[in-house]
Symmetry: C2
Subunit: 244 residues, 2 copies
DNA sequence: ATAATAAATTGACATTTATCAATATATTTT
DNA sequence: AAAATATATTGATAAATGTCAATTTATTAT
């Protein structure tokens, strides 16, 4: 983990500092920071820097104190729940312009997840104390964060239902559709993720994932080369996902 | 489902209306409503009545519009996610003095869960529009609700991890410990829940649940009579829960 | 380039869990 | 109380999934 400044920016003026965290002053779909005025943005960010992570590096570690939020400016990260006996579950992949708190914000102030870089990542850290301070001052911001939290909650519910109610083919189909439609948003998508990671997203062993993927390929549902997957019959995959 | 007023109260004065929803003006551990002043409480509740449900009745149904929150004044209810093909998962049991929104509050305004009465229930419904209105006016309240939401989120995470990382004995142990320590809070606890419901809490079929329970009994970990379960060796159950 | 290391794949097998059917027990209704 | 219904239990079996070991292929370091 190395500190650095984006070389296209001076890194010191206010605009650069906002931009260091967010493109267009908002985060992903949720516009959490879009409603803040410059002073408020400043109160969040006046002492932070951009941090670069290399693939595989841990950005935040489960069970450590939650002192900072992380804002992903560019790159992909995985949100992992590290279970007992080394069983990991990848709960989501986070993209550029996302904010992530680590779970226990405002509740118990420790991290319930590990977040690790999948690709190179530029991100920045924001003091939770600054966040809390802003919450007490800007009600609209509190409501936006509540919306964000509830939305995350419902996504986790859907993960929970998918993992507990479906057999392996349904779970593999879910993972492939999620990657294509929510993360990479292209059809033959290159995957940087290892088979182990794909399996960890699907709640199964890598061997089981590989076998399931191969059946999809044998049935002509997908094409699978060295480092890309192409979904050929999306409707069939959706059907498999639906039937569990 | 029948409307009624608590016969110990007049049902019309303000105090009665507050009390109709909450004992001591707060909800469970989270004191969400404890921070409201009388005017604010009134703005939430001036048009509501107490509703009584009989065991088995549906209080709110998954996939319907989220128009009201429910506050449980007395009794036990189950929060169920109704999966495809009739597979239900009971996510939590809610007790007296709990507030429950149904999942999609502020996000998509439909219900992501079904809530059904396990015992007789007295509860009341609060318009979401009144809640939203109050949110815009009282920042402390927004923050309290955010805290409540994050706390629910972390509980669901722990359910997710337990259900996906553990074999059946670990899941059964979790369910028994949850019932004893969080719901009934007595040791030989009477259970109103059917074996099917206990299985739905543990993510397995009733047959599997029964077999697992029987093994615990044969090993002397629990005693299991007609309608009660006694945990004899809690530490051993905790160990089983931990080892998955 | 070659060696060393890591990741992916395959097969055989064991374990876990669900399904189905039969029976027993409890609960409700008449 | 008897009949009807629902719930609980048991057993036999099949399906789903994980484990372990061996092998191949890719990636990294020398």
């Amino acid at each position: 983990m190395s500190e650095s400044q984006d070389n296209s920016m001076c890194g010191n003026c206010l605009e650069c500092r906002y931009d260091c965290c967010f493109n267009n002053s908002h985060c992903g779909d949720s516009h959490i920071f879009g409603i803040l005025n410059p002073d408020e943005l400043h109160s969040l960010m006046d002492n932070k820097r951009q941090i670069h992570f290399r693939p595989g590096e841990t950005i935040m570690k489960q069970n450590t104190p939650l002192t900072h939020l992380v804002c992903i400016k560019s790159g992909l990260a995985k949100v992992v729940s590290e279970g007992p006996k080394g069983k990991n579950l990848i709960l989501q992949i986070i993209k550029s312009n996302s904010i992530f708190t680590g779970g226990g914000a405002i509740v118990d102030d420790f991290r319930h997840f590990t977040v690790a870089a999948v690709t190179d990542i530029d991100c920045c850290f924001i003091d939770t104390s600054r966040l809390y301070n802003l919450l007490t001052k800007n009600n609209t911001f509190s409501i936006e964060l509540l919306k964000h939290s509830n939305s995350q909650h419902m996504k986790m519910l859907s993960t929970l239902i998918n993992l507990t109610n479906k057999y392996m083919p349904g779970r593999v189909a879910d993972t492939l559709l999620y990657l294509k439609n929510n993360i990479f948003e292209t059809n033959p998508f290159n995957f940087i993720l290892s088979k182990q990671e794909l399996a960890d997203m699907s709640g199964m062993t890598k061997e089981s994932f590989i076998r399931s993927l191969k059946e999809f390929e044998d049935s002509g549902l997908i094409r699978h080369t060295r480092n890309s997957i192409e979904i050929l019959k999306e409707n069939d995959l959706i059907e498999i996902s639906r039937n569990g």
